[in-house]
């Protein structure tokens, strides 16, 4: 079932009605509590930093206007490109201008921002406004790993980003391809493939059998995305980032090499020039039916089903040629990367902390967040148990229950982004290494260079300080596969 404009208005009205229902009915609701408390700030304006582009349409077109209608508080959205968000937030904190009240923060950055003093501790507000109970209903992997630093709450996990394997059920279920696969590989075609070796086998047989119509697989390969893919696959192959005793980087071990060599082999059965593909190129290829498998974030699954793509904001998304023919599963290895995501935070330099807090409590609350994760254009993905179980969501398109089941599985098995002191410096070394790999560099040589750079960064930051940060991160249940 496609989401049309009238459905969108129904969604908006639903959220509004939810917030404005009788006081009695919503006495215990975090959303209603936030609305009631925020009315004392009616007429004021708060600012919130949000990722530029589609993400910002949530506060611009939906939640911002609804919040103003309910409380009289205006929301000014400051759109910032993802790559610049950390820089802007830290610069503003250093300047102490109070220009930002609420923030969207990638959870892996939270420790750095907390150490810099840029984030406000939220526990006093959580207790004051009775939000602790609803926070417990956030899926454990997000709640336990993307909310606190050193035991203190600094952000509310608000986006269930996780990698999902999307595959064409008609192609992988084609008897001719299955027969060719059995003949070539000597075992039944696995639907879906559960290891990277199977993924390669399936992709290569499809490409050979169909002559590239479609190709067996496609993938975004641009380095900023691939550093997430590296983190995922490296750990699924048994890799560990550091020696916990010496803090020497161990990314150049067998797991790293296997990851790089696997990618190079897969590129040969993917469309030519895949090394330059970003999010959009890969999306276009999959939605147009040019590739049979890919791994990406949750919006691919919604758009592949045609959900909401008649919205003007999604006019750039190619019309799906594969609706009803897509399966959803965990990526090979079984432990997907919880790549990026967002937590809602309050800036420590804000002069309107309470109003900002109340806005993010309302956004993140069970009722309002359920509406927000169903906005087809806003890129927020389900992150609460109630989202995965929502009958409303499960009826959005025929395969939505399988889609939500895959996301829920990801929320159990997902792997956290590496989060250390100055994580981005380590990620930058990875990004550079991956771009060298696509330029034809020697995989082992590149991995050795990355490891040397990581060691140099660790020494610059301080081995003991970084060891403590790594130990805290590595002790989390989703840092490495169980």
């Amino acid at each position: 079932m496609l989401l049309r404009r009238r459905d969108f208005h129904a969604l908006a009205m639903g959220a509004s009605a939810t917030a404005l229902l009788s006081r009695r009915a919503l006495a215990a609701s975090a959303a209603a509590t936030a609305v009631e408390a925020a009315k004392q700030y009616s007429g004021e304006e708060i600012t919130i930093v949000w990722e530029a582009g589609l993400q910002s349409l949530d506060p611009l077109n939906f939640s911002g206007p609804k919040w103003k209608e309910a409380t009289g508080i205006s929301v000014k959205v400051i759109e910032v490109a993802t790559a610049e968000m950390f820089t802007k937030i830290l610069q503003e904190h250093r300047a102490g201008s109070g220009a930002y009240d609420a923030l969207n923060v990638i959870p892996a950055w939270m420790p750095d921002l907390v150490r810099a003093g840029a984030l406000e501790p939220l526990d006093p507000f959580v207790d004051k406004y009775g939000y602790r109970e609803e926070l417990q209903e956030i899926a454990p992997v997000y709640r336990d790993n993307q909310m606190t630093v050193g035991g203190t709450i600094y952000g509310f996990p608000d986006d269930g980003d996780v990698f999902v394997l999307y595959y064409r059920t008609d192609v992988l279920g084609d008897p001719a391809i299955q027969a060719a696969f059995k003949a070539a590989k000597g075992y039944d075609l696995p639907v879906p493939p559960t290891t990277w070796e199977q993924f390669y086998d399936v992709a290569s047989v499809i490409t050979e059998t169909t002559g590239g119509k479609p190709f067996g697989a496609g993938q975004f390969r641009e380095a900023p995305y691939m550093q997430f893919m590296f983190q995922e696959r490296f750990r699924n192959e048994g890799g560990r980032f550091f020696d916990p005793q010496t803090m020497k980087a161990t990314v150049n071990g067998p797991a790293g090499l296997k990851t790089f060599q696997g990618w190079l082999a897969e590129n040969k059965v993917m469309p030519k020039g895949v090394e330059t593909w970003g999010f959009v190129e890969n999306l276009a290829a999959f939605l147009q039916g040019d590739t049979a498998m890919t791994v990406s974030w949750p919006p691919y699954g919604r758009w592949a089903a045609g959900y909401g793509t008649d919205e003007a904001a999604l006019a750039w998304v190619p019309r799906s040629q594969i609706a009803g023919k897509v399966g959803y599963a965990m990526p090979p290895g079984g432990h997907p990367q919880l790549a990026a995501g967002f937590s809602l935070c309050v800036s420590s330099s804000s002069k309107k902390k309470e109003a900002a807090y109340l806005f993010i409590q309302w956004l993140n609350s069970q009722e309002v967040s359920l509406q927000r994760v169903q906005l087809p254009f806003a890129l927020r993905d389900p992150f609460r148990d109630s989202h995965f179980a929502s009958e409303e969501y499960r009826n959005r398109w025929p395969e939505a229950p399988q889609y939500l089941a895959a996301l829920q599985a990801g929320a159990v098995n997902g792997l956290l982004d590496l989060s250390l002191i100055q994580t981005d410096r380590y990620e930058e070394a990875l990004r550079q290494g991956i771009s060298k790999l696509w330029a034809g560099g020697d995989p082992q040589g590149i991995l050795d260079e990355i490891a040397a750079q990581w060691d140099s960064i660790t020494e610059r930051i301080g081995v003991d300080k970084q060891r403590a940060a790594y130990e805290e991160w590595a002790s989390k249940p989703n840092a490495y596969p169980a």
């Binding site: 820089t87 830290l90 610069q91 750095d112 150490r115 810099a116 380095a223 469309p271 030519k272 020039g273 090394e275 330059t276 593909w277 190129e281 276009a284 290829a285 002191i421 100055q422 981005d424 410096r425 930058e428 550079q432 290494g433 771009s435 060298k436 696509w438 330029a439 034809g440 560099g441 930051i461």
Partner: protein, 307 residues
């Protein structure tokens, strides 16, 4: 006479001298605000950068104690910095002569009367008014393997599928950036040189022709010496711009693959705004300012245009 005339002269000159002092004071008072503003805008950041470069301010620490030349020593041993300098110089030594020669040829072409000349000139100038970061994004699209027209056109020309990964393949990243850079800034050279050529006294070139000089002899012996100061200024402006090269490279490759096309400006940006190595980036900025100032002074003296 002498006794009587001397005081008369003194009396006669006294009022103007006091007026001169007053005028001078008035003039200083008038320019003082501008001088203060210029000092604040120009000198203060320089001094502040110098001070910060001797501290140790990073993302996590605001250590403002004096650390001497620590960062300068580290910079000397920083291979990534020297590679960035090398990449920058490589862009400079290829793009600058190319822009000069192409700009000069275009200027010579457009010196003659031709139909629709103004329209062509306006079209030629379009790249200059395009923001460099937009130009980078534009060329990235043009070079894109899946959606870009360049590989498509090359495929038509060779009669088979051409898959050149312009922003990935080490053999093509420099040509890609240079094509974009030369496309954007050759018209700037063209405009300056066209104006210079148009101001050359035609009687001199006609006299040379009457004496039997050919086109190139006239150009090299008569025209070029006359427009030489403009050529040097154009080279200086573009040379300095190329040393600051950032946008086009950022738009196309972000300094990659790896750091293969990373320029000094990109490295400084990464240090200051990605890694928050504030003091180290300040040291880098000081070194670049010193190097560039020395180069500019040398160039100005060399071509004697400072006078």
């Amino acid at each position: 006479m002498a006794v009587t005339s001397a005081p008369r002269v003194e009396v006669a000159h006294a009022p103007p001298r006091s007026r001169g002092v007053g005028d001078r004071g008035f003039r200083y008072a008038m320019i003082a605000p501008a001088v203060v503003v210029i000092l604040l805008i120009g000198l203060f950041p320089l001094v502040y950068t110098l001070i910060v470069s001797a501290q140790n301010i990073t993302m996590m620490e605001e250590d403002t104690s004096f650390h001497g030349l620590m960062h300068y020593r580290a910079l000397l041993a920083d291979t990534r910095f020297w590679q960035a300098v090398l990449h920058t110089l490589l862009f400079l030594v290829i793009a600058l002569p190319a822009q000069l020669v192409l700009g000069l040829l275009l200027a010579l072409l457009f010196l003659e009367r031709m139909p629709g000349k103004q329209v062509f000139v306006a079209l030629l100038v379009l790249p200059v008014v395009t923001s460099p970061i937009i130009a980078g994004a534009l060329w990235r699209l043009l070079f894109d393997n899946r959606f870009g027209p360049i590989n498509q056109i090359l495929s038509w020309l060779v009669g088979g599928e051409v898959t050149i990964l312009w922003t990935v393949n080490p053999g093509f990243v420099y040509p890609a950036i240079l094509i974009a850079e030369i496309w954007q800034w050759t018209p700037f050279m063209f405009l300056l040189l066209l104006a210079a050529l148009a101001s050359v006294d035609q009687s001199l070139t006609e006299a040379a022709k009457l004496d039997g000089a050919g086109f190139w002899t006239t150009f090299f012996r008569v025209t070029l010496p006359i427009i030489k100061p403009v050529v040097w200024i154009a080279l200086l402006i573009r040379g300095l711009d190329l040393f600051r090269l950032f946008d086009v490279v950022w738009g196309l490759t972000q300094g990659g693959p790896g750091t293969m096309t990373e320029t000094v400006s990109i490295y400084a940006y990464v240090l200051a705004f990605k890694q928050f190595e504030t003091s180290y980036a300040a040291a880098l900025a000081v070194v670049i300012i010193v190097l560039l100032s020395a180069a500019v002074m040398w160039a100005l003296r060399r071509v004697e245009i400072a006078r």
